[in-house]
Subunit: 112 residues, 2 copies
């Protein structure tokens, strides 16, 4: 059906990986730079693996620059996931409408 979404959502389900994505909104970075905030709590190979997950999900792209790999955000996959969720946007908005209506009902009750 939509196999790409499997990998994208799975990649987003990890806080380390979401933090890496957040970091990349501030600009490109290589592996060591990306790893630096996490090295107190995990090893460099762990970060390499996380980056591979993000890459296979299409969330980042890596370009080679001598012995450094520059990583940058690839918004396509995020866009696809967001579009899938947009299917439900009306649903939760309508749900808020119902809450709104409910609260207005309460307010009217109170006036009586």
């Amino acid at each position: 059906m939509n196999p790409g979404l499997d990998q994208t959502f799975a990649a987003l389900a990890d806080p380390t990986r979401r933090a890496i994505l957040a970091r990349l909104t501030h600009g490109e970075a290589n592996v060591t730079e990306l790893a630096q905030p996490f090295l107190k709590s995990m090893s460099l190979p762990a970060i390499t693996k996380h980056l591979k997950v993000l890459e296979r999900a299409g969330l980042i792209v890596k370009t080679r620059d001598a012995q450094w790999r520059q990583c940058r955000l690839n918004p396509n996959a995020l866009k696809d996931a967001a579009e899938w969720m947009d299917q439900y946007r009306t649903y939760w908005e309508e749900s808020l409408d119902r809450l709104d209506a409910y609260l207005k009902g309460k307010a009217n009750e109170h006036k009586k």
Copy 2:
């Protein structure tokens, strides 16, 4: 940081679970009804497990009705996930702008 997102995205990373959510946009359903389209390819307990994942992620709620469990969408979790992704919306829109600019550049080259 935002532990709920872990469970939400993990729950969305499975096509069976996404299909169940899609089904629930058409209205409440009990477990047997939800399971019915999948019973060719997996067992009822498998569906029970998927529903538990969705429930713990806050994506659905189950209410008890005699021996039936009615399930319905709970848009809160989806909303949280969508709001997290909205952080990136400007990023991919700007990326499309860049593509747009690039294509306009190409067009101008062509005119010369």
